[in-house]
């Protein structure tokens, strides 16, 4: 198959050929970036939280007026919740992953460092067991290590133990042993007693890698401090157990308002709702773009086939086979698609630079370009197949008739 005649034909239809190349290029650029963004969002949504998510439920509640006996009431609540059949663990906790509301603090290896690493601080008794977060090195808290929240607030916080997440340990100690080291919360020292699996923080804070900068403090917290009760149970029974838990809490003190009763799974779903919506929108746009481009190719190819009917008839009469004609249009489309893809790659790269500058989108990895290219080559070949087959069925006799 000769390429020369195809090129010289395309030269005679410069405007139409340019337009189709441009359309393929634009589609290629947008689709490359869209597919990349979809993958980026999907990876974000799939990040593990470091907890036994399916087994967890979270109930937040608040009293009317100030409660003088919050600590005693919390102990009573916890005992009653533990007694519900099917409950494996219960903790009173100040916050949960994906919960948005977050207690943050700056920590550092030096005292009073204004540029400390911002971390989320989880508080509550037996949190590792309730969250189902594994200890990777060192140990968990011992029962006698826990401080009362009021005492912790008033600064009676001398040399407490702290458990840091794996990501945070890496950031602070760069691969060195973390257990036994001293860190500072502002001017207050603390000793790292354990490293836990990456427990996600309640909300985004800065760079994506900061999502797992969290610590666990040995502080017992009453339910009145903005958090709530974290219940761990068999996933199959979780909903009924949470409903039971709510009525139990209402029975203990009716003068309280239950704010939320949700499984961690639902909290996570809601947290990523915007990312999912964005990913679906991008999928929709990608499909629509590919469809429009394919239809554009069909339209143009049909027109060219019709315009060249007599020419095709002459070639057939001079001995060209149906296969020759078919391959002519396929090759022509391949040349146009290749030109479009080449231009599209450059555009895709430029578009990504623009998005990186304006919307904190990461750099487009190189492997997305061949994916986009392959997609458009296949699309072009499928789109041109119909018109090309029609062209190949033109009878040689056409050449002898005047149109």
């Amino acid at each position: 198959m000769q390429v020369r005649p195809i090129i010289s034909t395309l030269r005679r239809h410069k405007t139409a050929a340019t337009l189709i190349v441009l359309e393929i290029a634009l589609t290629c650029a947008i689709v490359c970036n869209a597919v990349f963004l979809i993958g980026d969002r999907a990876a974000r949504i799939a990040r593990p939280s470091g907890t036994a998510e399916d087994e967890l439920g979270y109930i937040t509640l608040t009293g009317i007026g100030t409660k003088a006996d919050a600590t005693a009431l919390t102990a009573q609540d916890l005992a009653a919740l533990r007694a519900i059949p099917g409950v494996r663990q219960v903790s009173s906790v100040n916050m949960v992953p994906f919960g948005n509301s977050s207690w943050n603090s700056g920590i550092s290896l030096v005292k009073d460092d204004p540029n400390g690493v911002n971390v989320a601080q989880y508080m509550g008794r037996d949190l590792l067991e309730t969250f189902g977060t594994r200890i990777l090195a060192g140990r968990g808290f011992q029962p006698n290590e826990y401080l009362d929240f009021e005492a912790a607030q008033q600064g009676k916080f001398d040399h407490p133990s702290v458990i840091v997440s794996h990501a945070l340990a890496e950031r602070l100690f760069q691969g060195d042993e973390a257990v036994g080291k001293q860190i500072y919360f502002g001017d207050k020292p603390a000793i790292v007693v354990g490293v836990m699996a990456n427990l996600m923080r309640p909300n985004e804070f800065g760079e994506p890698e900061h999502a797992f900068y969290s610590v666990l403090l040995p502080v017992e917290i009453p339910y009145t401090e903005g958090g709530g009760y974290l219940v761990r149970a068999d996933p199959a029974q979780l909903d009924t157990i949470l409903a039971d838990a709510e009525s139990t809490l209402n029975r203990i003190d009716p003068a309280r308002i239950i704010l939320h009763r949700r499984t961690l799974h639902d909290i996570r779903r809601e947290y990523y709702a915007k990312d999912r919506a964005m990913a679906y929108l991008l999928v929709g746009v990608t499909l629509a773009l590919l469809l429009i481009t394919a239809l554009g190719i069909v339209g143009l190819a049909s027109f060219w086939v019709q315009q060249r009917t007599r020419q095709i008839g002459i070639r057939r009469a001079l001995g060209a086979t149906r296969g020759h004609i078919l391959r002519y249009f396929q090759l022509e489309n391949f040349i146009l698609a290749t030109a479009g893809i080449a231009l599209g790659m450059a555009l895709a790269y430029g578009l990504n630079l623009l998005l990186m500058a304006k919307y904190a989108v990461p750099r487009l990895p190189g492997e997305f370009l061949p994916i986009g290219a392959l997609l458009l080559w296949i699309l072009g070949q499928i789109a041109v197949l119909g018109p090309a087959i029609r062209a190949s069925t033109i009878a040689p006799a056409i050449a002898t008739r005047t149109v």
Partner: protein, 433 residues
């Protein structure tokens, strides 16, 4: 003449139904997607208080310790209680108000409603006049009430109707966190979007139900909401007058640029005084931004909404290139017909206009269909989980913009094909027959 062009265009469009439908649908999808995302952007970027957005200013001061200070650093996004109260007392602006968000449990007198939580705002008296908040009944409290922490409250129409069954609630008693407050005013529905005066709470939410003097809220220890930043250990009460924390918003009204620059000078001299007294450690670091500047600093429009708009516009561009290509092939295909018309005396100009009319007709059909798709798209947006979702409606300007966009883009798409189409030289076209 136009009537003749229209009938020519209609006949030509009918001849290639598939192609016509393809062009119309492509334009409609592009326009529909673009208008959906532009409308969302239009809603998100709206001026929340158009009458006063250039007279209301947000105050920022820098009471943090010297450690970590760099020249040009942005001061904290909120002010400390000490500074807020001092600046409200100073009365150096036309109006001023300090405020914070809060939550309070309300126990209804009616036994058929369980106690519930209401979003509130603890503020000072001038907020109502400053933000032009309309009253249905009663009035706001006075500066005197601020001073004496009067047990009074202003409530929203919705809360009045929920608790008392009507808006005639002035003089009634409200049970808040086990305390009693007297209702002195009921405001009409007033929910600016975005919630410019406090961006820590829900930005496109339903607004507050309960307004209580800030001084009263401190005496009753009502809970606060929003964000709080402390630069050292705050002790037992982080909301105390001398706590080392910023957690309040301070707004001032200044009706001329001269007054604004005078007020900025005042903030600098206030900071210098604080530095001399030892309360501040940093050199004066103040900002005074109007509503629009404050919204821009906080990047109120979510980057995802802008990204979606760009994606939709990119999609529209591909649809237009597609239409240009298809129109071109269509017009070039009719060279012989055009040749005959030219030979019979039609000028290039009339052919050009005739072809443009045909492109415009496709645009009009695309606009109508695109409008339907935009309406459908916005319906989809309203069922999204985003906080601003319920606000996504087509208003009149956006409706007009949709039409404008569709017609303009299709005429633009028709220009090149029409120009190429009318180039057909009569002699060659006639000869080839």
């Amino acid at each position: 003449m136009l009537g003749y062009y229209l009938s020519l265009a209609r006949r030509s469009l009918k001849r290639n139904k598939g192609l016509t439908v393809l062009m119309i649908v492509a334009i409609a999808f592009g326009v529909g997607a673009s208008m959906t995302t532009l409308t969302v952007l239009h809603v998100l970027a709206a001026d929340p208080i158009p009458a006063k957005s250039h007279q209301l200013y947000y105050v920022q001061l820098d009471p943090q310790p010297l450690n970590g200070y760099r020249v040009g650093d942005e001061p904290p996004y909120q002010v400390s209680r000490y500074d807020a109260e001092a600046l409200v007392r100073a009365q150096r602006a036309d109006r001023q108000a300090l405020m914070t968000g809060g939550n309070a449990a309300i126990e209804p007198d009616r036994t058929d409603i369980k106690p519930f939580f209401a979003e509130g705002r603890w503020t000072s008296s001038e907020m109502f006049a400053m933000f032009d908040i309309p009253f249905l009944a009663g009035t706001s409290w006075t500066a005197d009430d601020d001073l004496h922490a009067a047990r009074v409250a202003v409530i929203s129409r919705a809360l009045a109707e929920k608790l008392f069954g009507s808006t005639a609630a002035v003089g009634r008693t409200l049970h808040v966190e086990g305390q009693q407050l007297r209702v002195i005013g009921v405001i009409a529905d007033w929910v600016p979007h975005p919630h410019f005066y406090d961006l820590n709470t829900s930005r496109y939410g339903k607004g507050e139900q309960l307004f209580v003097p800030f001084s009263t809220s401190r005496e009753l220890k009502l809970s606060r909401s929003g964000s709080m930043d402390c630069w050292k250990e705050s002790g037992a009460d982080s909301t105390a007058l001398d706590s080392p924390c910023v957690w309040l918003q301070l707004w001032v009204e200044l009706d001329s640029p001269d007054k604004a620059s005078a007020y900025r000078d005042f903030l600098v001299s206030y900071s210098e005084d604080q530095l001399r007294s030892g309360r501040y450690q940093r050199p004066p670091n103040v900002r005074l931004r109007d509503v629009i500047g404050w919204l821009e600093l906080n990047k109120v429009v979510p980057p995802d909404a802008r990204l979606q708009t760009w994606i939709a516009l990119g999609f529209l561009l591909v649809c237009l290139v597609n239409t240009v290509g298809l129109l071109l092939t269509k017009f070039v295909r009719r060279s012989s017909e055009i040749g005959v018309r030219r030979a019979l005396g039609a000028s290039k100009r009339t052919i050009f206009i005739q072809l443009l009319v045909e492109a415009g007709m496709i645009g009009l059909a695309g606009a109508l269909l695109g409008l339907g798709l935009a309406w459908l798209g916005l319906w989809g947006v309203r069922h999204q989980p985003a906080e601003y979702a319920p606000l996504a409606h087509l208003d009149l300007p956006m409706l007009a913009a949709t039409f404008g966009l569709a017609i303009t883009s299709s005429v633009l798409a028709g220009l090149l094909p029409a120009w190429r189409g009318c180039q057909a030289s009569p002699a060659i076209q006639l000869k080839s027959h």
